[in-house]
């Protein structure tokens, strides 16, 4: 009911997760997750390994299914039917830890595949869009190379551009820099900061605390499958409410 209301008034949140519970078999990974992300908002999710961060954001574009609760993207509810799954996925872009570029396609072909196949965009137009975003991530000169010829940082920037080519309303990032050599982390973070500056709605799982301070509106801390604390970055880093948050921050900030 609230979903039809919110769509009608045109004030749908970018993402609304309510009462989400998820199990892998008999193992419960997510416990009563509630999280609303407004349009243009940037949310950083952090927490110890195995706390369910990836699972949560993978539920948002139905890479994982969920057993209980409501997930809505731009007012569209994610059901268990394939139509709602495809509807939501076209609104949501995702960037992975290991880039996952298609190895048999050039950079340009990587970027135009989904627009031409899913959106039926004419090839010329798709190529123009792709070049536009490749310029945005500062890598247009690599357009005709294959992924294997690029560095990790370059590949990740291409992965961001490839997602943007579908013109998503929301971008999800799952530890986009944690597979990168230190000297390449900055170029990817810079790209993400620029994206944030353009008002993109972003949900980032990351332990890059500098990035969180710089662009996040809110920081979400997860532990053992539950959201333990949601706070502004300032409050989160200087005055964490939860003792588990404190323990986690002590660990992360030491490194």
């Amino acid at each position: 009911m609230s979903e039809t209301q919110s769509t009608q008034t045109g004030h749908a949140s970018a993402i609304r997760v309510e009462g989400l519970n998820k199990w892998f078999g008999s193992f419960q990974v997510l416990f009563d997750i509630n999280l609303t992300v407004e349009n243009g908002e940037r949310v950083v999710i952090c927490g110890p390994s195995g706390s369910g961060k990836s699972t949560l954001i993978r539920c948002i574009n139905a890479l994982e299914d969920h057993q209980q609760g409501v997930i809505e993207v731009e007012g569209k509810a994610l059901g268990h039917d394939s139509t709602s799954v495809y509807d939501v996925r076209t609104e949501v872009g995702m960037v992975f830890q290991h880039f996952n570029l298609f190895p048999h396609l050039t950079i340009l072909e990587n970027c135009i595949l989904a627009p031409t196949v899913v959106r039926k965009t004419p090839r010329k137009e798709a190529e123009a869009t792709a070049m536009h975003f490749l310029e945005k991530v500062k890598i247009p000169e690599q357009a005709n190379k294959y992924p294997i010829q690029l560095s990790g940082g370059q590949q990740q920037r291409v992965a961001i551009a490839r997602s943007l080519c579908m013109r998503p309303r929301v971008m999800l990032f799952d530890e986009p820099t944690s597979a990168l050599d230190p000297e390449m982390i900055k170029e990817v973070l810079d790209t993400m900061v620029a994206l944030a500056g353009e008002g993109m709605t972003m949900v980032c799982v990351t332990h890059e605390m500098g990035f969180a301070r710089k662009v996040a509106n809110r920081v979400v801390f997860m532990d053992a499958g539950a959201i333990v604390e949601v706070n502004s970055p300032d409050a989160f880093f200087t005055n964490p409410q939860n003792e588990r948050t404190q323990a986690f921050l002590n660990q992360v900030l030491q490194h």
């Binding site: 890479l63 076209t90 298609f102 048999h104 595949l113 989904a114 294997i148």
Partner: protein
């Protein structure tokens, strides 16, 4: 010991042998093509675990792999005739070889598809691609590259196994040679000649597949 080997005999038999060769090529190439299609479809059904169909494909593959090809050929040629389905030697042969190669190609392609990193599927799906888009544009081009050596083996086997079809009277290369041996007793000449012909086709087939493989490999080489 004092076998009188005659090249002129081979020369004289060449027109006949070429007819047989043509039949062998026609049947083999058609069967190979169909077996590749069966393999891709079968592997797709298996990989996406399509209910019921996936189990049927598994049963089919098992059946083909655990019965002799000659029995399958007889079953299709004689057995189906009992049910009033008379395909004739040519189409029975193509059906038998296609089903035989298709079963092996299902396994070959499935092997290739399961070698595709699962991150590829996630990336494809997160970009909005449907399962068939993913199969067509991502999984097959990546996976087939891995399957190709095994598929070449299957194709060569289909070609060689087409000689079984002489048992149901298809006038392919082996049949033609056997017929001549039965009347002229030029055993060595005939089997040497058709051996060379089979070898030549296999070499050409292998070379063609290597070209294809090189094309598919190109993106994976750094340079």
């Amino acid at each position: 010991m004092n076998y009188n080997f005659s090249f002129p005999y081979i020369w004289g038999a060449t027109p006949d042998l070429l007819d047989g060769l043509w039949m062998t090529l026609l049947i083999s190439l058609l069967s190979i093509a169909i077996s590749v299609v069966i393999g891709v479809v079968g592997a797709g059904l298996r990989v996406f675990q399509v209910p019921i169909l996936s189990q049927l494909v598994a049963a089919y593959v098992n059946f083909i792999r655990s019965t002799p090809l000659l029995v399958q050929i007889f079953f299709i040629f004689f057995g189906l005739a009992e049910f009033g389905i008379r395909l004739g030697g040519f189409w029975s042969g193509i059906l038998a070889l296609s089903l035989w190669g298709g079963a092996y190609n299902t396994e070959n392609v499935r092997g290739g598809l399961s070698a595709v990193d699962k991150g590829q599927r996630e990336a494809a799906y997160s970009l909005g691609l449907r399962p068939l888009h993913y199969l067509r544009h991502v999984a097959l081009p990546i996976g087939l590259r891995v399957s190709i050596p095994a598929m070449l083996n299957t194709a060569v086997s289909v070609l060689k196994n087409s000689s079984y079809l002489q048992a149901i009277g298809v006038a392919e290369l082996t049949f033609v040679a056997m017929n001549r041996v039965a009347t002229d007793f030029r055993t060595l000449e005939m089997f040497l000649a058709i051996g060379a012909m089979y070898l030549a086709i296999v070499l050409v087939l292998s070379a063609a597949v290597r070209r294809l493989e090189a094309v598919l490999q190109k993106p994976f080489r750094t340079a």
